[in-house]
């Protein structure tokens, strides 16, 4: 029997769970959010410590398998060239994301119509535009209006500085005659909503000790909690329960002491990301739903999309920014829209970084032999440290049903809940796009004066973006949720994270995930009288 009953149960306190909790609070419903992780303590973030580069690869590693925190769950990713990156805490992966914050483009919602691949979304850019704007205000976005790669959109704070690295690469893009623009960043370039401005710590992807980066533990959650949302940490949900009438009944979860508890809810909202959400739905088997909850289409866990990333770096003859400054700098969308003469469909964004830390520079270059060890080490090292910059290519990944999240038959988390297994193959289209992105980036770097260019593709541990495993659509046989996030099968079950993406676009997804969450919340509020019809 349930210990307590609430109106709305949200599972997951990351990017989307925080947004929808905040938006629904004005309904005055009793809202509880269960989060398996803890609140973060910024004083523990790596940038507050001398050994920040070590800490960023250990306790704050992007890999849950590497971290192995009690709040993490393991992932069998042995059959994937790209490993999952996530974080389990209040704020979710926004704790470790870069805050690189592009929107989707209008064409991203119409890929079938425009390019004959994948499927169109059941909504369009114009539908999401007001929610993008609202989310931008809540998160606090730095940028510059007027980007010719986008429809007009507001800029809330000034862009982050170009610095030496951005200036150098801007020269390279200009020499090629290619687009670049200061990146939209979820990093405060001036004091904003109680947060202080960025002071260029340079370790954004291991948590921002300054609080300038917009992780949802310091953006949405303080507002939502002040307005009455209850957030319970260290609560790991095992399954969503089902009532006799086939509606979701709530959830069974384990508290911090491993004690099994149950909570009843009139509405259940899943916000566990593109791996955690299908894992939870597939673990929620019942007599009514023997193949997992909301899975009559058989598509829960299918169509997993990452963004295959290329990484291209150049070494220059003058000092740049090194590890100083936010990783976000400028972007290029010269190759974003489809041009079939390139040998692939769809496109990619270049996300230009700053530089590398002293440890990463030393380790990589000593292991590759580019920096000597022994008596010539110091001169050799000084020829590269603080002189490296470059970019990553974020390639659009198209949905393919054989790329899946399933339940591993053996692997379990510390509460005995079956863990997810990833089976993923890089498509030929992605391989061609990665190769193309490396070739063009090499040209930019050389035009900017790089004397040595190195590249990697795909980035093996670059599975930051988890999408497509509970896709939205109007046809219940071809999608898991409808055009406003409600399960086709279970009419009081909603999904709001990246798993509902139909396609991945060629940009970081968090801004769109949150805009979708706000859009779903608004759709629910407009239908409160007949939400389950």
């Amino acid at each position: 029997m349930a210990e307590d009953a609430v109106d709305v149960l949200i599972i997951g306190a990351g990017a989307s769970g925080a947004a929808i909790a905040w938006s629904l609070v004005d309904t005055r419903m009793h809202i509880v959010c269960l989060e398996q992780g803890d609140w973060m303590n910024p004083s523990e973030y790596p940038s507050a410590h001398m050994d920040w580069e070590s800490r960023a690869t250990e306790a704050f590693s992007i890999s849950p398998n590497r971290r192995g925190h009690a709040t993490d769950y393991p992932i069998n990713e042995s059959n994937s060239p790209i490993a999952v990156a996530n974080f389990n805490a209040v704020g979710g992966a926004t704790i470790l994301y870069a805050g690189h914050f592009p929107r989707f483009h209008p064409s991203d919602f119409r890929v079938r119509t425009l390019d004959g691949v994948a499927d169109d979304w059941p909504i369009d850019y114009e539908t999401l535009a007001p929610y993008y704007d609202e989310n931008d205000r809540m998160m606090g976005v730095s940028g510059l209006a007027g980007d010719p790669a986008y429809p007009p959109k507001p800029a809330i704070m000034p862009p982050l500085p170009l610095g030496r690295a951005g200036t150098k690469l801007a020269e390279g893009f200009n020499a090629m005659g290619w687009h670049w623009w200061p990146s939209d960043s979820a990093i405060a370039s001036e004091p904003y909503d109680g947060r202080d401005k960025c002071i260029n710590l340079g370790a954004c992807t291991a948590g921002c000790a300054q609080g300038a980066k917009a992780s949802t533990d310091i953006t949405y959650w303080p507002h939502a909690i002040r307005a009455g949302v209850e957030l319970r940490t260290r609560c790991r949900v095992r399954e969503i329960t089902v009532r006799k009438d086939g509606m979701a009944g709530g959830a069974i979860y384990y508290d911090a002491d491993g004690v099994e508890r149950e909570i009843a809810a009139e509405v259940v909202i899943v916000a566990c990301n593109g791996v955690g959400t299908p894992r939870l739905l597939l673990n929620s088997k019942s007599n009514l739903f023997p193949d997992g909850l909301a899975n009559s289409s058989g598509l829960v866990g299918r169509n997993l999309m990452f963004h295959p990333y290329s990484a291209i770096r150049g070494t220059f003859e003058t000092d740049l920014d090194g590890a100083k400054g936010p990783g976000n700098c400028i972007w290029s969308q010269e190759f974003y829209e489809t041009d079939t003469s390139r040998g692939f469909v769809r496109g990619f964004t270049y996300e230009i970084g700053r530089g590398r830390g002293p440890v990463n520079t030393a380790v990589d270059h000593m292991l590759s032999g580019k920096v000597a060890w022994g008596e010539n080490h110091h001169r050799s090292y000084r020829s590269v440290v603080n002189r490296i910059t470059g970019m990553v290519g974020i390639c659009e990944d198209l949905p393919e049903e054989h790329n899946t999240v399933t339940l591993d038959p053996e692997l379990k988390d510390s509460d005995g809940i079956p863990a997810p297994r990833i089976d993923y193959t890089l498509s030929e289209n992605s391989r061609r796009m990665l190769d193309y992105s490396i070739a063009r980036a090499t040209e930019v770097l050389e035009a900017a004066g790089a004397i040595d260019v190195q590249s990697t593709a795909p980035i093996p541990h670059g599975g930051w973006h988890l999408m497509g495993t509970a896709r939205m659509g109007t046809d219940p046989q071809q999608s898991v949720v409808n055009e406003w996030g409600r399960s086709h099968d279970v009419k009081n079950l909603f999904i709001v994270d990246g798993s509902i993406f139909v396609t991945s676009a060629g940009v970081n997804p968090t801004r769109t995930i949150q805009a979708l969450a706000l859009y779903v919340a608004d759709s629910m509020k407009q239908r409160l009288a007949n939400l389950f019809d």
Partner: protein, 162 residues
Amino acid sequence: MRDVIASDSPYSSEEREVLRRVAGILIPSSDEYGIPGADDDLIFARILMLATEQAESIKSGIDALNALAIERHDDSFPQLNETQQTGLLHDEANSGFLRQVIRCTATSYYQDGRVLESIDLKSTPPFPGGHEIEQGDWSLLDPVKARAPFYRSIKAVRNRNV
């Protein structure tokens, strides 16, 4: 930084002697830059800490290095002169052992405040002091600002949703 207590180390004193010598060869001290080598007490203590996780394979590597020293020079690695030691390490340059030791050594060395100061970085954590970043040359954006919008319009296209 966690404290390292010698008695907690999985390495014997003989093994620590080999590791310390290898670290000192990989990154020696420099009078020119006024910095210690990786065999410095503080830096080596961190190397030992970092090398704990892979202790089993590193200890095997130390055994192999000593065996090679005896095979080539009839003496264990610590007893060889620097030329002999360096020669053996060059022969082992692609071994998993040396790659692990390079990783631990470089990681420890380049988080030492004395070393960081020598490459114009702060000898303090990034927070709370932060760093200065130049604004850069924003005039470079002028030609891009002059470019016409080039995103694809979707007006008048028919939705072919699932």
